[in-house]
Symmetry: D2
Subunit: 316 residues, 4 copies
């Protein structure tokens, strides 16, 4: 099922589970996949920024993607960002052959001008093939590349295979409004907009016209519910749920330790067996673990889903 511009809901960003010794933990991959499906995600994104992709051999990366594709039965987007088009093409070919729904491409952090950005995506599409649906990842906080709405419109218009924006500009609410205005004015065809940025602005992003979320917050079930509530127009309920999680969403947003926090919670929730990262990787200090525990305890008081024990059961 190829990715297209009607995609919506939650495409959860999957981490890569490892054993403490650095080996890939296939059992946890399966278990995590099942958990995601049970939580109601509509898609899964693998090998993204938070998937420790640079630590994976090419063959490992393809195997992980293929395993999740085979098990999940929902569209799988694969991050293929690479410093060279040869590596990007090779990974794209292998995962598309394994039935990925599409790929995601972030710009290299050396790009500056509008034309440089547009040219880069044109060249990337030439490299991977015009028949592969792709997602623009727009994340200036990490990549230092700033794309205006006009630049995004140019990329979308030039490349029919562009079907989605992973929106994580910050601040980015007005950007969503601008893109949707372009669409309503006929200046740009419709694309799907799923929001990243750890979900920190998901409440309002939905109200601005986003179709859902593409992020890996450790309670994807919350993301699913907020997206659903917001789409149903239940504004207060969506914000109530979102706000209950915001202290932890915010904590997980810390660059550098965010992945450690995320994996730690996923381990505590029984979604993966270990919070290990493959070397070189960060780890939470004991103080930080205590802080996350405290946030989980507070969350448990207001959100039944934070009842940590049954999560595993629910997923299986």
């Amino acid at each position: 099922m190829p990715l297209n511009e009607s995609a919506n809901g939650v495409y959860v960003i999957a981490p890569t589970p490892f054993h403490p010794d650095g080996r890939i933990d296939e059992a946890s991959i399966d278990h995590m996949t099942d958990f995601y499906l049970a939580a109601g995600v509509t898609g899964i994104t693998v090998l993204g920024q938070m998937g420790e992709a640079p630590k994976l051999e090419h063959s490992e990366a393809v195997a992980i993607a293929a395993r999740i594709i085979k098990r999940a039965g929902v569209p799988i987007v694969v991050g293929v960002t690479a410093p060279g088009f040869a590596a990007m093409r090779a990974l794209t070919q292998d995962v598309m052959a394994a039935s990925a729904a599409g790929v995601m491409i972030a710009p290299p952090n050396t790009l500056r001008t509008d034309d440089q950005i547009v040219t880069y995506y044109r060249q990337a599409v030439e490299a991977i093939g015009t028949d592969v649906p792709f997602v623009i990842q727009d994340y200036p906080l990490t990549f230092s590349v700033v794309m205006t709405p006009s630049v995004i419109a140019r990329i979308v218009t030039e490349n029919p295979s562009c079907v989605m924006l992973k929106h994580e500009d910050w601040p980015g609410l007005e950007k969503i409004s601008a893109l949707r205005r372009f669409e309503s004015e006929g200046k740009m065809r419709h694309i799907s907009i799923l929001c990243g940025n750890g979900g920190l602005f998901l409440d309002f992003e939905m109200e601005r016209g986003a179709d859902g979320a593409m992020t890996g917050y450790c309670f994807p079930d919350m993301l699913v519910d907020v997206v659903r509530l917001s789409a149903q127009g239940q504004r207060d309920a969506a914000h109530d749920l979102f706000d209950a999680h915001l202290p932890l969403v915010r904590y997980e947003q810390q660059q550098g330790i965010g992945l450690a926090a995320r994996k730690y919670v996923m381990m505590r929730r029984g979604i993966i067996a270990s919070d290990a990262q493959r070397a070189p990787g960060g780890a939470l200090s004991s103080t930080a673990r205590g802080e996350v525990d405290y946030l989980l305890a507070r969350l448990a008081r207001v959100d039944q889903r934070a009842n940590l024990t049954p999560a595993l059961a629910r997923a299986s």
Copy 2:
């Protein structure tokens, strides 16, 4: 009263109130100052990043600082960051002559190596004079300069006039712990650490050893209470209050529109007469204003201070 390393509480970052036509609004300056004092701040920081300092003539900047110094009766820190040491020295001399408590200096965004950063602060101190207490502003998200704890320790040790760190690294919790560990191990003398970053991590920053906040969130009364509760060891109460404000704290954190949101709320609370920024300045879209209104309404349900009308009365 010169700034020293025992400073604590909330040094609120003051915006500069303007009339809609761009003139400085002295009445609002006075009113805002009174509001801050009534809210319980222990100091005020003027001409910072959020004070629209680059739009002020030198004489205007000095006049604003002098006015607030004269009225407030609490220590006033003045931002003197400048691309050249001549301008930095000129402003420092004038505001210290007007009885400022100290100055704050951010590094230019061209610095890269540890030595470059340490050298810069040495040269800055030579420029402003070794008798002027100063604050290091450590804000990599905006300035692109990354200071390790060791670099900060070197600056503190080399420059006896360094008395405070405005901590806004992100993530920065471990940095506070590392600096306090340096102090307890005798590797660095004690300095005051006040936290910026819009207050987004203030709850845990206090628990890591910060002395308070230096930020301009539109409810400084919340900052005062969280700092106090945390210092008193009332952990749950501190977090409860903080979490109630977090959706708005987060909203105000958006770079580029944060100041517009902050001034808008301060206007709605009656603290300043207009949310105008001097040109060139941003403004909230009507959608954004509606989002802020919604957040205020939600806040009012959980926090009596968000009852917007009495705020003015309280300040006067």
Copy 3:
């Protein structure tokens, strides 16, 4: 005489001469000005990157500009680049009142997108006044801001007071060709293009359509002759002269120590009394001085002007 789009020849970038104790050396300013005129420059640019402008008080900066303006009798361009529009406007007003021909504005290094750059120049023109002729300084190596030819065309078209480009993109030969093509195709009105970048590509820049040089190489007499020879179509002669100086041009191009090398040669040539920089400033190591001496000795064998003793006489 206001600067206009027909400017050509050499607008030499003047350093600021200091006494070893940091005081401004007015006698050397006069002497240097006379030397420049005798060398055949058609204009002078003061307070640029190499003029140590950030170390000058506002009143000093204005006094230096006024002194040179009064003495020179050729158009004087003043660098007014500043982090804030208030300082930019204040300096512009004071130097234009002192009969400067125009001002030069470089973009702040935080700009990224095409629109950000165009907007910045629009706001700058609003700040300084639409009646002040200005020069765009396009120097990505130093400012990290990349302007495409299209962006320059937009700035030129939007702002009738834009009369010149200080071209120092690198590589930049194709940019000159592109801009001249825009002009010939009627897509952009004509502007003067003077080349900086230390003169490293001046030989070919002239052949691509530049009108001259705006740089401060320590032998401005060479720049004058190369520009003249090239304009006269004496290609080989222009290159012969240029190539003889290229080893020293290249040496002076070293960021960080270029100004020290330049001032050292100007002192050795008797143009200024001291090569001192105001603190904080760099200085040549004795090894580096020896290298410059060696290059001067080699140059003296092929270019009579490099015979150092008569230079002073020639200037007076």
Copy 4:
């Protein structure tokens, strides 16, 4: 023959020859290799910045390295810079198995602090194995990572397998002096220093203590002779030869088109069959080709090697 700290002479940076249709041109690889050996290089570096490595499949990269290793009989250094340690390790293992002499590693452009840089090299060495000799590539103009001499000394001291610095800081003369001073003071063990930066400062770099060059200037025979003359103390002769080439060295230094100019000259000299770059690649405009032709004609008047026709004969 593993690379060690006594390496000297010229390790030429080899481009990757392609057919106009993008296929790798093995015959030109062989011919180019023979030419380099005939020119007197002491080593060859493949898959560097100028080798179009990001456009090569992993298997292609390994095949090219293996082909040159087998034919050359001199030490071959392979660039293994990669965004992830998995790809870096995979390429290292394969080329070391094919008898490469060592590998070269540049830092990712996200590094800022001294500690980050030192940590990165420690992790890289853990990834590739402590038994693989490696070269630090220090090229801030391209990578935006600034390494002080102290940081280099820390990397050298921590990692016994570090045997060489590819020095292309700019300006960098004082850095070479500082590192050699560290060595003479016993603060750092001796390493080989070969200079890149297109050779723009090779004349003085040799005099500061460099052991040779590692760059790909289109006349490597000039590099060989300058290194030899300088090592023999024939200062004037070294500079005379260097200066004759400087206009072209300078032209080739233009980022973005430098490789096109280099391949064009190598094609004209008969070293490779085509100047094609694999897509996406730049190409010289006809004006630029004319400029290079003009520089070659001028060079031919002063340097017999620039007599372009016999170059091929000489190489075979």
